[in-house]
């Protein structure tokens, strides 16, 4: 086997040194009746070229070159090639969690930079090293709010990504954490503030909203924070489309922000790996889940970075830990870090403006033949279009034309009928938009 650095002679020598006569002697602890005496029923060993051929065939089955109008929690942005060039350095991608700081400063410094940029973008004071993704991050944010407030229930806006909501429900179910939902206003697609105000009780640990929300609508975070804070609940804000932070005001009034960083240079990759991150106020730091990197000094006074505050974590606190998370999404956070660095202060704004402009143009075009919903509040790069034709049928009709249409909302919002969520990023050309707009009625 080509990955194994041993010759037959090496193996024989080692067995002799160990003092056993065959390799199976070393497997003696396994009761004989459970030893596998046959080959596993999996395909034979493949040459590298055969592996490449297999995956090329799979890649071709999916196809490439589509005009992509899907967003809904996974966004099709241009990925500067420097990202993969840099994360492909063995020093990054074949390293473990930076437990030994003296030989892991590369990873540690990059996480420290990531934490800093997430703070800058979200308007929070601290951020962690990453969570699995936006959905589990949102669940952890809610659990964190429960720990912080001593209250036990949570309210989630219906305009939070439906799959995020499903995940939170799974997480919450057995922790004695009742979850209720609050609806949206048909005109704007925003959280129904009046309804929310009524729903919050003394036991409400937090309200979780998303902004831009699942319909692409930008929420009024300040107002929502007010409503929450008046009743002693925390406001958790989930951000699924991180590029929005280039032009949309950060949720500075939030107590906890959970962001999905996929838009920052992470490939769509059929849904993962992505990276979540939790950011919050400094005073809440002892309840944050996941890893944190901090600045310190070595004995000569040189600046260096270490994993810190690990008494929150499972390997120290076990069943009392803030979360069971161990392995996170470090390399994906590094992608996001590089992406944020490439675009930086001016670029994120320019990029967000292009997204905003493309979607605004598209909404206008789509509006000519179909009905654009929720026009009463500003949108970022997504908008909802209601059609006569069933949106699944539209999708099937468009796929062979190399267009991937919007996300049909029926499944999660039956009340919206034939509505679909369309997304335009900097990668959607005017031509693509015009073509699609003509097909959607």
């Amino acid at each position: 086997m080509r990955y194994l650095p041993k010759s037959k002679t090496d193996r024989e020598y080692m067995l002799r040194e160990i003092g056993v006569s065959s390799i199976d002697d070393l497997f003696a602890p396994i009761p004989p009746e459970y030893r596998l005496t046959r080959d596993l029923a999996i395909p034979r060993q493949m040459a590298e070229s055969e592996i490449v051929d297999y995956f090329k065939a799979r890649s071709a089955e999916n196809g490439t070159g589509y005009a992509m109008f899907l967003g809904a929690g996974a966004y099709n942005h241009y990925r500067p090639v420097s990202i993969d060039a840099l994360i492909s350095r063995g020093e990054f991608f074949t390293a473990y969690t930076p437990y030994q700081a003296e030989i892991a400063q590369g990873t540690l410094q990059s996480i420290f930079e990531f934490q800093t940029m997430v703070c800058e973008l979200t308007g929070m004071e601290v951020a962690n090293a990453s969570m699995y993704d936006g959905s589990t991050g949102a669940a952890e944010a809610v659990m964190m709010a429960v720990r912080l407030t001593g209250r036990s229930s949570a309210i989630i806006a219906k305009t939070v990504h439906p799959e995020y909501r499903e995940v939170i429900r799974t997480y919450a179910k057995h922790q004695g954490m009742p979850i209720s939902e609050v609806g949206y206003v048909m005109e704007t697609g925003r959280v129904d503030v009046a309804a929310l105000d009524k729903t919050i009780t003394d036991d409400t640990a937090c309200v979780l909203i998303q902004s831009p929300n699942f319909f692409g609508t930008v929420e009024d975070v300040a107002q929502l924070a007010d409503v929450c804070h008046k009743k002693g609940a925390l406001l958790c804000v989930s951000i699924a489309e991180a590029i929005s932070l280039g032009i949309v005001r950060p949720p500075v009034e939030a107590d906890i922000v959970s962001m999905e960083a996929q838009s920052f240079g992470v490939p769509l990759s059929f849904g993962g790996p992505y990276a979540g991150v939790i950011a919050t106020k400094g005073k809440f730091i002892r309840q944050i889940p996941g890893r944190l990197v901090g600045e310190t000094r070595d004995k000569n006074g040189k600046r260096g970075f270490v994993l810190t505050l690990s008494t929150r974590e499972q390997h120290i606190r076990r069943e009392k830990a803030t979360s069971n998370i161990c392995t996170n999404q470090a390399l994906i956070a590094l992608m996001a870090n590089i992406f944020m660095t490439i675009y930086g202060r001016e670029g994120l704004k320019d990029l967000a403006t292009q997204n905003l402009s493309k979607a605004a143009y598209a909404a206008e075009q789509f509006g000519k033949n179909a009905k654009v919903l929720f026009t009463g509040a500003p949108h970022f790069n997504e908008f909802v279009v209601q059609t006569k034709e069933d949106p699944y049928e539209i999708s099937h009709r468009l796929a062979p034309k190399k267009i991937i249409g919007g996300f049909p909302l029926k499944k999660f919002y039956p009340e919206l009928g034939n509505a679909a969520l369309w997304c335009c990023t900097e990668l959607n050309t005017r031509e693509q938009i015009d073509t699609a707009a003509q097909e959607v009625k």
Binding site: L86, S269, Y343, R345, R430
Partner: protein
């Protein structure tokens, strides 16, 4: 001057300094250019009103070459599997084949949107299906979910499955038994699933104390989370009996599969009584650790647990078409959006294909061979608290060195000078001052011998010159860092001298 004359594996060499990226920022530098906008530009302030952002605070402004140099330079400060042996016990730091990286980046795979129509997702779905089938066969189980994002996430999923199953039988029960040797994620997970954790003692052999298990097992106990081989690298030969005790009282056997590298193709958990288990694809199946992640933690189960698996599952229709099955009324629900860390699934499948049945078997054999070779060579030089046979890893203690004031953490730091990444320090907790060494199959005899020499040399230094160990490392850019200070006054982000703030 530090005496480095016995160090054979490494030397010191010039290494670039590099500040934080923010310290290189200057207004007007750019590393990006966008194509001209082909639609009318929206006036954001007008369009967004009060929701418009004014500026981006201290986000950096640098050029492309500065970025390439920044990350290249800081990368050179890292140790990595590509540099040499990385014997972190329990972490299975094996070789990450380049072909896995290549195939994961193919455009039709890396560019696939999770919601694109199934008719143009068949390639990705086939990958999920093939991997599922092969992992099921490897584990000897009946069904699997690929949704969990890492080992701990797999644990969460697995325990929720147990809970849902028991609930469907009428009672989710209250407790989960966890051996004292278990990884911290096990108790943390049980707690997240609403169970209280009950500690289970290990016996003198480092295995489950059967009497204790028998005593502690009752109708309040949902099951046992067992790591097998355990965190001291010992295969619990009583495994069938353990399963029997649990099953007799209606409990389930959960196996933490972090140590599957000791078992693949040699035995199958499903055959020896395991009901539910997770795999760490980023350990056993070689998806890269990436400085801390991403991972992937599929959960494989026996038939009776299948109805409870998270939605969706990929199912094959007559005719070969694949579709996502969402209609699973007993499902515990989603544990993650979409379908899991698909990029990691691609890599794991590529790894399995590269090995085939014979390659996987030889991989496991070499992993166990390497651990036993190290054990043999270092036994006596370091204290071996459990003499039970080792599988893929061996756990020593610092007892012999502690006489001279040298702890496992100190030996680790000195090992860095010798050109190695240290073993896992102070885990598992049942071994005081543990040195947990997992070489994996990826180490050559040359590298193993170099490691053994280095360990012997440090042991000798512990006798002759303990100071050199206590002040190690000496050959790195920075010396030992003040971790206590870092935790006492946490500095968790960079701030400019005169702080600007984002709005």
């Amino acid at each position: 001057m530090v005496d480095n004359s016995k160090i054979k594996k490494a030397t010191t060499h010039i290494s670039q300094n590099e500040g934080l990226i923010f310290e290189k920022s200057s207004p007007g530098k750019k590393a990006y250019k966008l194509p001209p906008l082909d639609v009318p530009e929206v006036d954001a302030a007008k369009f967004l009103g009060a929701s418009v952002r004014k500026d981006l605070g201290n986000m950096p402004e640098v050029s492309e070459i500065e970025i390439i140099r920044h990350f290249t330079r800081i990368s050179t400060w890292n140790y990595a599997v590509d540099h040499g042996m990385y014997p972190l016990g329990s972490c299975t730091m094996k070789y990450n084949a380049r072909v896995n990286e290549t195939v994961a980046r193919l455009e039709g795979i890396a560019g696939a949107h999770p919601y694109q129509p199934e008719m143009i997702s068949q390639g990705c779905m086939r990958i999920l299906k093939d991997l599922s089938d092969q992992l099921i066969e490897i584990c000897g189980m009946d069904a699997i979910t690929l949704q969990p994002a890492a080992g701990a996430h797999g644990e969460l999923t697995g325990i929720l499955l147990m809970r849902a199953y028991l609930e469907s039988k009428g009672n989710p029960r209250k407790k989960v038994l966890i051996p004292d040797s278990a990884h911290g994620t096990n108790p943390a997970t049980a707690a997240m699933c609403g169970y209280s954790v009950e500690n289970l003692k290990s016996n003198a052999a480092g295995m489950v104390d059967l009497a204790a298990l028998e005593a502690q097992m009752n109708e309040d106990v949902a099951g046992l989370m067992l790591t097998n081989p355990s965190t001291i690298g010992v295969f619990d030969s009583q495994i069938a009996k353990i399963a029997e005790i649990l099953h007799a009282k209606g409990g389930l056997l959960y196996m933490d599969g972090a140590n599957m590298n000791a078992l693949v193709a040699k035995t199958r958990p499903g055959d020896f009584g395991v009901d539910v288990m997770h795999l760490n694809l980023h350990k056993t199946f070689s998806t890269p650790h990436g400085g801390g992640g991403p991972g992937s933690g599929p959960v494989a189960v026996k038939k009776m647990l299948e109805p409870f698996l998270p939605t969706p599952l990929v199912v094959e229709e007559a005719g070969g078409r694949l579709r996502f099955e969402y209609n699973r009324p007993q499902s515990i629900g989603r544990v993650r959006m979409f379908y899991g860390n698909v990029g990691m699934h691609v890599r794991a499948l590529a790894y399995i294909m590269a090995n085939g049945p014979d390659g996987l078997r030889m991989t496991t054999e070499d992993a166990v061979l390497n651990a036993n070779y190290i054990r043999k060579k270092l036994d006596g030089i370091y204290d071996l608290p459990y003499r039970t046979p080792s599988m893929h890893e061996v756990v020593f203690s610092d007892r012999l060195q502690a006489k001279n004031g040298i702890k496992t953490g100190d030996i680790a730091k000195r090992l860095i000078d010798y050109g190695f990444h240290p073993y896992t320090v102070s885990f598992p907790m049942i071994v005081h001052g543990a040195l947990m060494i997992e070489p994996t199959e990826s180490e050559s005899l040359e590298e193993l011998d170099a490691f053994i020499d280095a360990m012997k040399s440090v042991a000798q230094e512990a006798e002759e010159n303990p100071e050199i160990i206590l002040t190690a490392p000496h050959n790195t850019r920075i010396s030992r860092l003040d971790e206590t200070g870092a935790a006492r006054k946490p500095i968790l982000r960079w701030k400019p001298q005169a702080a600007k703030t984002a709005a």
